[in-house]
Each structure stands twice: as structure tokens, then as C-alpha cells.
């Protein structure tokens, strides 16, 4: 906690001659400025900084806020396409939907909340959801879904500490999202010892806004109007103070005070109130700016609103509604109290706006001290000033706020690994599939997602577990839906960051395509270790190259010749404890457009006698497979190869199969290979229907293990016999390999005739028993039965 006085000098010009010593002194008081930043600050201000200014710039220049190690690298990502309305740079990305819904826009935001979730899993994960929801709301949108991608340590070897984090994070996401009334549309989870000391919690939120009603995070253009800042929400307290710096360093000591406190109840009321204010300003044609408060609190929000609007600002700190305790001005200025937004409104409208929050919605009755207050005004001074009564505690040029920090870090690329050729063979394929389904990374996630409400708002057409992507209907009177899915295999990315990153994009887009959605836009979060490590920086550069190359190849279903654009994202560094960084972990969300929700496709088998068609790459490599890792015990393995041009055509086929109603179910082949994909299709249907699968894999011309467990990209389609010709023709037209592998059976089993002549069979019941056991065991602290 800082213990300065706002308007006292943080250090003198004399002291600044030894910037390293100053940095040490500041660090002892909880303020992190590198020595070169100590000097830079004096240059920018033309004088040594006041204490509050030092606190402010320490946060602005933290890795979390400034992206100083990576911003220049992020330029590699394609961010432009005809349907992009707002690319990366504001709180969330915005893409227009196609006709006939081009009056609507989709808002996407993606963030990480890794360190807080490791320290306080429930609050950390909950405030992660809270923050991402605010990012979407502040663009003027209604939040219509949240998703989460999670990476945890080894639940067995990592001990009860890891299991507490798993349970706590899920509880935090559930408590927050369920109370807010936003459906959870899925995500993924991986378990690996590499995340024991640094879990990853990435959250994504989706919103819907009128295309011409997008609100921007800046003071509006009209310089004649007197603009004021209206702070809305929770009373400011000391909570989370220094969170941005907390996110930019290694974990250690008791960090619980740095984790913010969530309040989904206040947020729900706030969202309803904000929606009403949005409706009124739109109706009356009143221009407005709108931003949510996150890292750096009032300071970052108001200074960025001003800077983005090309103007200056003066904030009156004593106007802030706050808890009834003495709080130093620099803490009030930078604290990260949750559930706060900042509106920029014409001065003449401010009183009405405050009345909406304070009286109509009675925020103070919902949460003691909550409300809306005018805290400052924009001006043309070109300076950002903060007053604490008569004292000036911040006074700097507005451009100083937006002065990026750039730190040149050495980078070392690693050579790509050779594909693994497994030495062992496991003769027992029957046991192998059950072992995969019973593994932490192969088991059913149903136990987990039943903590989440996926039906609220009444828009859900394909829910978590039902398909490769979740599908929600955009509006009751429209046919269109939105599909959303995730990609990012930590083993592949950890082994070969560039190729792994390509797969992350391909997988997310392929999942969307299998559900019947045309991939439309992407978000990404890069979760890596310390930027001071050359290997980490090398992995980041390689990852960005992979993400970019894949995105450039897979945008054709949205706009021919255009890339799939990244419209929002986040970089989370310092996910490292000592020597051990997390595996390179880019996580990619893809959203897609489903023109008619009734054509969306799930996994569950529909009719006995239907054909099963496999389309994609030959099954000849076991490199990077869960089978090699889990069953053969061979952990190192490069990802399988990926031909992006073929992948684009494969995704096109999947989309046509859905849109044209050729297929009745679809599933992509990923973790665990074809055997797991088929098992999941069998398990997805209701037991009462009693359907299963019979396949003859000799047609694949591969060894039995490769046929069953290879993870080379492919999709499985359930096709009514009279439509099969259509599918094979479409595959031929796209130079895609397609095999008729079998049929849907009227018995609840998975039976496969293997290359070599043996037949292996599993009952639906034993598949379910294996798949449902691990997470139930984890949550109930039961040991594995041996």
C-alpha cells in the first residue's frame, strides 16, 4: 500500500540522478517504476512527479496496461476486414452482422485474470467475468453470452491446492455470470502440471448493439459542448489497489488484498440502468462517451477518455462517491473498485442522468454508497489535471498519458520439433479409448458446466456440450444466430508455438463451421511467462506469426479474399514461477454467423441407418496426440501438420453441409482422435433413443492406433443416405479426402472393425462411466479407484 501524500513530490530532481535507487525506494512503497521510467517521467513532466503522478504512471506503464513488451509485435495480426466496425484499441471489438441483420453489430471482448484467480480463485475469476462484461457494455451493447477458457494444474499430482483452484474458479464464474443473467456459452479446460503454480483464466464476452448506436470510449467530437465526466457505480474504496502492477509481476507473499471484490448484484442493476440511459440518449440524439473502469481506476478511465477525444480534463477527486473512511487521494484516483463506469455527457444533461441512477434505480439502496456523481469536466487545456480540494495532485500533458512505453526485449526462437513417431504400441485399443475418456483432458466436462446457467435470456439454440460451438439466436424476430467456439491446445503450442498457434485459429474456426456458422471474427489472448526471458519473447513472436498466417487463410467464408480479423485481445505475461513458465498459451475465440438457427448442427446422432462420413486429412500421424501422451506415455510430440488452404476448404464443406441440410450431426476430430469423436457422438444423445455407431476403419488405410487416435484435422458428418452423394461430391470439388466409415446403429454401442480385421466394441454405458468419473471425483475429493 502506498503511504505518500498526493501532492508531495515522489522524488526530487536531485534524487532522480540515481534512478535505480529511486526505483528501489518506490518499490518499497508499492510503486513499480523501472529506472529508465523514473527518468522518463521527469522528462515528460518537465519536473519531478508528484506522488499521485508517480502512482498513476506506474500503473499506466505496467505491462498489463501498456503492453510495453509486446505492442509492436501485435501489429502482425490482421485486424481489418469489411465487416469490422471497431478493431482492437477500444475496450471491445465490434463487427457488423451481415444482411438482413446489418442493423446490428456484435461486440467481442477477451481478457485474462490469471494471477488473481491463482490467489483468490472465487473472487479472481468472478472479477474477471465482471471486467469483461463491462468492456462489452461500455461499447453500448447488451451482453448476450460469456465464455471461459481455463488451464489448471495437475489435479492429482498438484494436490488439494490445485483442486481448490479448480473448484473456486468455476464457482466464481458461476456465481457472477448466473447472478448477472448472462448465459455461459461454453469454453474449454485443460489440466497440466505446467499450470500448477499459474492457472489461466481467460474470459470472453459477447454483446449485441444497434449498428448506429455504438458508444465510444472518448469525449465526443463536438468541442463547443461542455462535456462532464459522470462516475457511476460502487463507492470507491481501496480495493485492488495496484492490481495492474500485481498482474505484471510474479506471485509471492500474501497477495489477497490486491484481488478486487465482485458484486454481480450491483452490476445487474447497473446494467439495467445503463441500458435505460443508453436508450434515452439514443432516442434524444444526445452524444455521449462511455467507458468502464478497470486497471488504474478513475485515473486511467478519465485520462484515456480525454486523450482519445483529443482534449484535456480536470477531475475533482473530492466529488467521488466513496466509502466513509479516510482514503489518500492517490488511492482514490487509482483504486480498482469494481462495478464502476464513466459516462461523458453534455453538462446540461448530467443532472438528469445522475437522477436516473440515484433516484429511479435507487443505486444507494442496492449497495450502500453507490450512485452517480459528476466528477470532472473536459477542457481544451491539453493537460490532465486532478484536484484534491485546493491541492493539485496530478498535472501533466495529456499526450504523456498516451505516451506508449516500448521495451525492446531479446527474443530467441526455438527450432521446430520433429514429429514424434511413438516407439511403443498399446495392443489394448479397448482400454486405450477408456483411458482417454477417463483422463483429465479427455473426460466429459458436463459436471463442470452444470454449474452454469446457459439458458437465461431465452436465446440459446445449441448449448455447451451439444455441439462443437454454442449457438444463440440474435433476436426473437430474426433467423440469424451466432456461433462461438475456442481453440488453443497447450501441448501443441508448448511444443511448436508457431504451428500450435495456427492450429488454435483453425480449431476455433473449424468448431464454428461444424456447428453451421461461417467464421466471422476472432479474439485472442496470449498467456506467457516473463518477458525478460528471450525464449518467452521468441515464443510470442512465433505465436503471433502462426495466428496471423492462419487468420489470413480462413476469412473467406465471411468475405472472399479477406482475413479473419482479430478484433479484440489481451496479453498476459509473467505467468511464471521461478524457472517454470506456463506452456506458450495463445487462446483464440472464433465467432461465426449462422444464417438460420434451425440449420445449426450438434453432436447427437439423429437416425439409425444414417451414414457416417469422415472428411479431412489421412490418419497417418500420431504426433502430438493425447493417445501418445496418455496411453503410450510419450509426452513430447510436435503437433500434426496443417495445410491451411485445405483447412479453409474443409470448413467451407462443413458450413455447406449445415446450411444445405445435408448433414444431421457434425463433430470435428480433435483431442483423442476419431475414436473419441465417435464416442462423444454416441454419448451426446439421450439414452432413451438408444443409438450408436458401427464403423469399418479398414477404409482409412492406416494402422489401428493411427486410424483411431490420430489428431490430424478432420470432421465427422452424420448424413442421411439420400444426401451422401452430395457430401462426397462437394468433397471432390474441393479436393478433400472423404471416406464412408460406417453407419448409425440402433443399439447403444460403438463398434469398430479395425484395419487388420479385429473388431472392438464399447457399450454407451461404459463410455459414459469412464467419461463422467474424473470431474465428479475431483469435486468430491475422491481418490481414483485402482
Amino acid at each position: 500500500m502506498t503511504t505518500g501524500t498526493g501532492s508531495a513530490l515522489a522524488y526530487t530532481a536531485e534524487e532522480a540522478r540515481d534512478p535505480a535507487a529511486v526505483a528501489v525506494q518506490l518499490a518499497a512503497r508499492g510503486v513499480t517504476l523501472e529506472p529508465d521510467e523514473v527518468t522518463l517521467l521527469v522528462e515528460l513532466l518537465g519536473r519531478p512527479p508528484l506522488w499521485a503522478e508517480a502512482v498513476l504512471f506506474a500503473i499506466l506503464w505496467s505491462e498489463h496496461c501498456s503492453y510495453k513488451s509486446t505492442r509492436h509485435l501485435l501489429k502482425r495480426l490482421p485486424t481489418a476486414a469489411p465487416h469490422v466496425v471497431v478493431g482492437p484499441g477500444e475496450d471491445a471489438g465490434v463487427v457488423a452482422l451481415p444482411a438482413p441483420c446489418d442493423d446490428l453489430a456484435l461486440v467481442l471482448a477477451h481478457e485474462s485474470h490469471n494471477h488473481p484467480s491463482q490467489v483468490l480463485p472465487v473472487e479472481g475469476a468472478a472479477t474477471g467475468v465482471g471486467g469483461i462484461v463491462r468492456d462489452v457494455v461500455c461499447m453500448g451493447a447488451e451482453v448476450i453470452g460469456v465464455l471461459d477458457a481455463l488451464r489448471f494444474g495437475d489435479p492429482h499430482a498438484g494436490g488439494v491446492a490445485v483442486r481448490d483452484i479448480v473448484r473456486g474458479v468455476v464457482r466464481g464464474i458461476a456465481d457472477y455470470g448466473n447472478a448477472l443473467g448472462v448465459p455461459n456459452l461454453g469454453g474449454d479446460v485443460y489440466f497440466d502440471a505446467g499450470f500448477d503454480a499459474n492457472c489461466l483464466v481467460n474470459v470472453m464476452a459477447l454483446g449485441l448493439a444497434p449498428r448506429d448506436g455504438i458508444l465510444h470510449s472518448r469525449v465526443p467530437e463536438d468541442s463547443e459542448t461542455p462535456w462532464v465526466f459522470v462516475l457511476v457505480g460502487k463507492p470507491t474504496d481501496e480495493s485492488g489497489f495496484g492490481g495492474a502492477s500485481f498482474a505484471s509481476g510474479e506471485l509471492g507473499g500474501d497477495q489477497r488484498g490486491a484481488v478486487q471484490l465482485p458484486d454481480p448484484f450491483l452490476k445487474r442493476v447497473l446494467n439495467v440502468a445503463n441500458a435505460e440511459l443508453m436508450r434515452r440518449v439514443r432516442e434524444r440524439g444526445i452524444a455521449a462517451g462511455f467507458k468502464d473502469l478497470g486497471a488504474g481506476g478513475v485515473a486511467c478511465a478519465t485520462s484515456e477518455l480525454a486523450a482519445a477525444g483529443g482534449c484535456g480534463a480536470e477531475i475533482q477527486l473530492d466529488q467521488l462517491h466513496r466509502v466513509p473512511r479516510r482514503i489518500p487521494p492517490e488511492v482514490l484516483l487509482c483504486a480498482e473498485t469494481q462495478e464502476r463506469y464513466c459516462w461523458v455527457l453534455p453538462e446540461g444533461y448530467a443532472a438528469e442522468a445522475c437522477d436516473l441512477f440515484n433516484r429511479e434505480f435507487a443505486l444507494g439502496a442496492v449497495c450502500p454508497g453507490a450512485g452517480a456523481r459528476v466528477i470532472g469536466r473536459a477542457d481544451r487545456s491539453g493537460r490532465y489535471r486532478v484536484m484534491w480540494g485546493d491541492e493539485r495532485v496530478v498535472d501533466c500533458p495529456v499526450e504523456a498519458i498516451t505516451t506508449g512505453r516500448r521495451v525492446q526485449r531479446p527474443a530467441r526462437r526455438r527450432p521446430p520439433p520433429a514429429p514424434a513417431r511413438p516407439q511403443n504400441a498399446a495392443p489394448d485399443v479397448h482400454g486405450a479409448l477408456l483411458a482417454l475418456l477417463g483422463s483429465w483432458n479427455g473426460c466429459s466436462r458436463e459436471y463442470l458446466f452444470r454449474h452454469y446457467d446457459s439458458e437465461v435470456q431465452g436465446r440459446t439454440w445449441l448449448r455447451p456440450g451439444e455441439g462443437d460451438a454454442a449457438v444463440i439466436r440474435v433476436h426473437p424476430e430474426r433467423a440469424m444466430g451466432v456461433a462461438v467456439a475456442v481453440g488453443g491446445n497447450p501441448y501443441w503450442c508448448g511444443s511448436d508455438p508457431e504451428l500450435g498457434a495456427r492450429h488454435a485459429v483453425a480449431e476455433a474456426a473449424r468448431n464454428v463451421a461444424c456447428a453451421g456458422g461461417r467464421p466471422w471474427a476472432l479474439t485472442d489472448c496470449l498467456n506467457f511467462g516473463h518477458p525478460q526471458e528471450a525464449q518467452v519473447m521468441g515464443d510470442i513472436a512465433a505465436t503471433l506469426e502462426g495466428l496471423a498466417v492462419a487468420a489470413e487463410s480462413l476469412g473467406g467464408l465471411a468475405a472472399r479474399g479477406e482475413p479473419l480479423p482479430f478484433v479484440s485481445g489481451n496479453v498476459s505475461l509473467h505467468n511464471q514461477s521461478g524457472e517454470r513458465a506456463v506452456p506458450a498459451s495463445p487462446i483464440v475465440w472464433c465467432v461465426g454467423v449462422v444464417h438460420d438457427v434451425t440449420t445449426s448442427l450438434g453432436l447427437a446422432l439423429q437416425g439409425a441407418g444414417d451414414f457416417l462420413v469422415l472428411v479431412g486429412e489421412t490418419r497417418d500421424e500420431l504426433t502430438g496426440s493425447a493417445y501418445a501422451r496418455e496411453v503410450l506415455g510419450e509426452p513430447d510430440g510436435a503437433p500434426p501438420s496443417l495445410d491451411l488452404a485445405r483447412e479453409a476448404r474443409l470448413q467451407e464443406l462443413a458450413v455447406l453441409a449445415a446450411e444445405g441440410c445435408w448433414a444431421r450431426a457434425a463433430h470435428d476430430v480433435s483431442d483423442g482422435g476419431l475414436a473419441v469423436a465417435l464416442a462423444e457422438m454416441v454419448m451426446a444423445g439421450p439414452p432413451e433413443r438408444g443409438l450408436g455407431i458401427e464403423v469399418d476403419l479398414a477404409v482409412l488405410e492406416a494402422s489401428a492406433p493411427a486410424a483411431l487416435f490420430s489428431e490430424r484435422p478432420a470432421i465427422v458428418l452424420e448424413v442421411a443416405p439420400e444426401r451422401a452423394a452430395r457430401v462426397f461430391q462437394a468433397a471432390r470439388e474441393r479436393s478433400l479426402l472423404a471416406w464412408p466409415i460406417g453407419t448409425v446403429a440402433a443399439a447403444p454401442l460403438l463398434r469398430a472393425r479395425l484395419p487388420g480385421g479385429d473388431t472392438v466394441q464399447w457399450t454407451a454405458e461404459e463410455l459414459r462411466a469412464a467419461a463422467e468419473a474424473p470431474l465428479a471425483r475431483l469435486w468430491n475429493e475422491r481418490q481414483e479407484e485402482t
Partner: protein, 182 residues
């Protein structure tokens, strides 16, 4: 240093304003006959640990370490190991203990304790509503009894007897209280 079988209480209170207590106070004052003369209503969590427990310093240290018990960043904890130990109560305040019938045990906390100390203890949790009246309340005991058990829209709030248990203490708060046997 582990003692013989003992019972300790951890009384845990939020550092900031507790919206739950603030709302309950406002509603009780406005709508309940027992709440007419309510001056204060605080909501504490009461955790009872029973078994071979360490001495006070060790116990406080263990409770501080895990959010299975409390979060020191937002709550403070007062430990009571003997009946004479101080409680975070005012002189005339009464306490209503409420917990879900049959569900007062905290498995997660017990597992954490076993992992940290190697010992098995029992951990129980309930909510302790601490109630103070204005002097004009002539029958504070009656008023508390009214507030405690939900009967209809005008009477009762803190406990729904169809799913929950409650106990009332005025002055002396039992140790143990949640745990039925010593």
C-alpha cells in the same frame, strides 16, 4: 502444539459495510413488528472447530492462512477458545445463530486442515446475527424471538424453520454452540 479435544469458535465479520446486514436491518425496521426498535443488526459468520486443536497462536495462524475460513483482506476474525474469552459483541446485544438443517459441516475446510496439519477435526459453520435494540424496546428477548423464526410476512426473517435451525443467546453465548456434543 496440539491440545486435547477442544472446541474453538471463530467469529468473522466483514471489514466494510455489509450490504446483507444493512438490507436486513432496513427491512426489519420497516416491516416487522419485532424490528420496530432495532438499533443495529450485524451479520457474522461463526465457524466452530472441534478436535485436537493447537494453542491460540497456532490456531489463529491456520485460520488466517486459508480462505476456507476467512479472507483477511475483507474480514476480521476473533477467536474464542474458552467461555470467558472476549466476543465481538456489545453488552446488551443478542445473537441468533442460523444454519441449514443437517448441513452445517464444512468438508472443504476439514480437508484443508487435514492437508496442513495431518489431523482430522470437525468444522461447522453458521450465520450469527448480532442484534441491538434501542432502550425503548421493553421486551428485547421477545423481539429477538419474533425476528428469528419466519412465520408470515409480518413476523420473522432470519431463519426459515422449514429448512433451517436457529438458536438464540442473550448475554452468554455458549461454547460450543453449533456443535451438539463436546
Amino acid at each position: 502444539m496440539a491440545g486435547k479435544r477442544a472446541v474453538a469458535q471463530a467469529w468473522i465479520e466483514p471489514v466494510n459495510d455489509d450490504p446483507e446486514a444493512v438490507s436486513a436491518l432496513a427491512v426489519a425496521r420497516a416491516h416487522l413488528s419485532g424490528g420496530r426498535a432495532l438499533r443495529s443488526l450485524r451479520r457474522l459468520r461463526l465457524i466452530e472447530l472441534s478436535g485436537a486443536l493447537p494453542a491460540r497462536a497456532g490456531l489463529e495462524g491456520l485460520l488466517h492462512r486459508s480462505i476456507q475460513f476467512y479472507n483477511p483482506a475483507k474480514e476480521r476474525c476473533v477467536v474464542r477458545m474458552a467461555a470467558a474469552d472476549a466476543l465481538p459483541l456489545g453488552g446488551r446485544e443478542q445473537v441468533v445463530l442460523v444454519f441449514e438443517r443437517g448441513e452445517e459441516r464444512r468438508g472443504g475446510a476439514e480437508r484443508w486442515w487435514r492437508h496442513e496439519t495431518g489431523r482430522d477435526i470437525e468444522v461447522r459453520e453458521g450465520v450469527a446475527w448480532v442484534i441491538g435494540f434501542e432502550p425503548l424496546e421493553t421486551d428485547p428477548a421477545g423481539a429477538v424471538a419474533e425476528l428469528a423464526a419466519l412465520r408470515d410476512r409480518r413476523h420473522g426473517l432470519l431463519c426459515n424453520p422449514h429448512a433451517q435451525e436457529h438458536r438464540i443467546a442473550a448475554g452468554k453465548v455458549p461454547l460450543p454452540w453449533i456443535t451438539l456434543r463436546t
